[in-house]
Symmetry: C2
Subunit: 228 residues, 2 copies
DNA sequence: TCAAAAGTGTTTCACTTACACCCATGA
DNA sequence: TCATGGGTGTAAGTGAAACACTTTTGA
């Protein structure tokens, strides 16, 4: 009936997005055994006086320098053999950061330790982290269809083209531009920014929009249900 | 950086259903401090060589004598202050048992230790178990709309009236009998049992049906998506 | 024969889907 | 003026919702 050696960790699957590079996940290279020098999810042991969320946030900061702007619990992985040395149970979290922070890491100093990997091109990974990432990716794909999480991945100001590309990348299928715009606008939680357009390369400039979270929260309280 | 005293438990929110009594949750009365003699979710410490699922199953058997026929992980609760004595992180599970097993417990011998409580009439509970139950109830309500979990709560053979009552109870709103039947039958995973009807009290006997899980699994593989 | 519960179809409406051309800009 | 990408409306089809009477049994 006794329990002695189970130790508790948290791991974070943080998604980032850039137009040019698509959807990526933040990984760190392990410095210690087991799996020394193998890529792994950022994470670590939970301290005795901090909450699980605090632990994830702290570890992310320590290991990658990044602060997410969305975080939710994903799943707890606890198979006895998932760590070859000792019994470790890990509470996995699911995080999103917006496009501008994504860029910051790329310009950061820890680039040899933490790196972004496109979700279609992940390295071999430590522990059961491949399975954790699969679970997180499935969650993201599901979530984007019924919660406005996409906006967390974009910059504050974005064009419909940006949004459309993101959804195309996440859903893995094409979207009808007209229907998509019609639907999103009908929700009435996007603000069209006045006269702010955005030339880029070539072509007609696009209107910029902003996600109005307050408006969204009001709507959900009234029973509104977002769905792509 | 050290972690010493965090201990890991599992807790189970098991739902049962009976036509007469509605949706209930299985609780046990605690024998020891803290919260001695207070109602709590069945659960306990995870042993070092067992998986989390095994731990829940074992604890349920030990404390209530019951075996669930559906079990999934719900959420991990880990606020530092959730246990007044020590740091305990608990992985909560969500379980369903069918109507016949529900009756068994009522006829069992452990009735003073384990008991069913209607979800609309729960006692004061130990730890943060009220919050865990809230999360589980929300999950059940959501889940029943896009996964055929309702059948786990009913007997193997059931009538459309049973199914309809269950959904009415879970969703908390009335259902149009014709539309409901039309929709469920259109999924084509219910077997109409030959000539088996079921008089009860008064009124026209009803056809009995059975959930064909194999058929359902086939359909989901083909991309079918259940939705009420 | 009456009360109680089960079984059954059709119409309306809303939402989703499909689809092609013009507009604004930089090169 | 051309190439590039942004912006826009309508028609057809599909699925959801609303709705009331008949059937079968026990009392």
């Amino acid at each position: 009936m006794e329990q002695t050696g189970i130790r508790l960790t948290v791991d974070a699957v943080v998604f980032g997005y850039a137009k040019t590079e698509g959807v990526s996940i933040l990984l760190v290279k392990r410095k210690y055994e087991p799996f020394k020098n193998t890529w792994a999810l950022p994470g670590g042991f939970v301290l005795e006086d901090e909450s699980l969320e605090q632990a994830v946030t702290r570890e992310l900061k320590e290991e990658t320098g990044i602060a997410v702007n969305y975080l939710e619990q994903l799943y707890t992985f606890g198979e006895p053999a998932r760590d070859p040395r000792q019994r470790i149970v890990s509470v996995a979290y699911f995080g999103l950061i917006n496009s501008s922070m994504y860029k910051e890491l790329h310009a950061g100093t820890d680039a040899d330790k933490a790196e972004w990997f496109n979700i279609t091109n992940l390295p071999h990974m430590a522990f059961d982290h491949t399975a954790i990432i699969q679970a997180a990716t499935a969650r993201l794909r599901a979530k984007i269809q019924y919660q406005p999480v996409g906006f967390e991945l974009l910059d504050k100001k974005f064009s419909f083209a940006d949004l459309e590309k993101l959804y195309t990348a996440l859903l893995g299928r094409d979207i009808d531009r007209r229907n998509f715009r019609k639907k999103i606008l009908s929700f009435d939680f996007l603000e069209k920014l006045p006269e702010v357009t955005h030339p880029e390369g070539q072509g007609r400039p696009s209107n910029m929009f902003r996600f109005n979270k307050k408006r969204y929260d009001q709507l959900t309280k009234k029973g509104f249900f977002f769905e792509i």
